[in-house]
Symmetry: C2
Subunit: 227 residues, 2 copies
Amino acid sequence: MDHHDHSPFDGADTDGAPLDEAFTPRQEEVLEAALGLLVEGGERAITTAGLARAANCSKESLYKWFGDRDGVLAAMIAYQASKVRVAVGGPAAQRPADTYRADLEGFGIDLLAVLSGPASLALNRLAIGQASREGSRLGDLLVARGRRAVSSRAKGLLEAGKRAGHLRFEDTQGAFETLYGLIVRDMHVRLMLGEHVPATNTDRAMATHVAAAIDQFFRLYGADAQS
Amino acid sequence: MDHHDHSPFDGADTDGAPLDEAFTPRQEEVLEAALGLLVEGGERAITTAGLARAANCSKESLYKWFGDRDGVLAAMIAYQASKVRVAVGGPAAQRPADTYRADLEGFGIDLLAVLSGPASLALNRLAIGQASREGSRLGDLLVARGRRAVSSRAKGLLEAGKRAGHLRFEDTQGAFETLYGLIVRDMHVRLMLGEHVPATNTDRAMATHVAAAIDQFFRLYGADAQS
DNA sequence: TCCGTACCGTACCGTTCGGTACGGTGTCAA
DNA sequence: TTGACACCGTACCGAACGGTACGGTACGGA
């Protein structure tokens, strides 16, 4: 049920969670408009009539392209994820300790910036709202698409640090999850609840917070940390 | 529209959270039924007609007691929070190191158990879904009621540990947030997205994970940690 | 006994929304 | 010119929902 990588076009199958990429430019315009509506007004703001009006398209086209309203929501997540397709490679070369630390901090700041961005928050709220509904795979889709990119970039960074002798750990996944917890804490949930989180307000505040988190991370996983 | 707080007494909390309405037993029955609907079917499952049917009450009573549908949702959060009214005091006496560590682990396990519970997940999903809507204070309400209880218990525990010489830190809030991040990581979000999180499946898995997290916490904030 | 109160169950209304149908327009190819 | 195609805009339908009104019932106090 999870493996349908490249479908030539999204056909008339309306049952499962079908569609992957391969959106036409016109469809991407529509999805962009849908994202705008979502960011501004939440899920209830995405009505078929409202989206058609906002995107200057017909409802008939919506149903032709996306099957039904849920198909539009799924397509929005797939589309947004395809946009964020991160360059995962990163610096493979050996880097001195302070530069490597700056890489880690850069990762942390990027992570916080993404999580606190309005589009990300809106999509996460959408997926969480749909998660209670049975048979909705939006959550899985979001996790698979979004988290994977972050996770792979972080793990590459961590293993590079290990090879370079800056870090020491056995379980890459565990180290990544600890790093995530130290950086994000409960900010993501609080942001989604609409709370005002100071550490995500300005670049300066984010940098300060991330620096402290990376400090803690090095005390747990640094090469000179006592086991 | 917002000020109908005829709070008889019970003004224990000093912060801004306003409402302390005491619900009658009948109203609590209705709210319990509403929670059941919410847990099972998400926010869309709470319709005025459906709730009236499930709770064997009339729609007229719903509107009399709670004002409108949003009032029902707010009352659900207030009611659930009032149920969880935690015994915050905890052991004030000095405790030896290993017992104190067990206290911390107990806190962590309780925290994970609460966050992964179906009622908590459903309420958080509800509040997050409403957060996009302007003028909705459900998120604030949930944070104020739920988070505050956890936070105060944890801070009491941490400061007791500091006085007993088990911990060393300056910023209690910062230490608590680090502890929270080490324990919860991104599990809360993933649970709300409907994902299957192994570390919250069994008591054993939770205990193992929390023990590791407390290990890390002591390496950062233990009295014998290098600064 | 009578009346007020609180409540239940049902019927009802106006609106919104998902989904479908249809006519009209621009384009490209034969 | 003709026809096929993709699309837009609008009108329409049925269902669901929030909210209100009304009749009927139990109870407790004067």
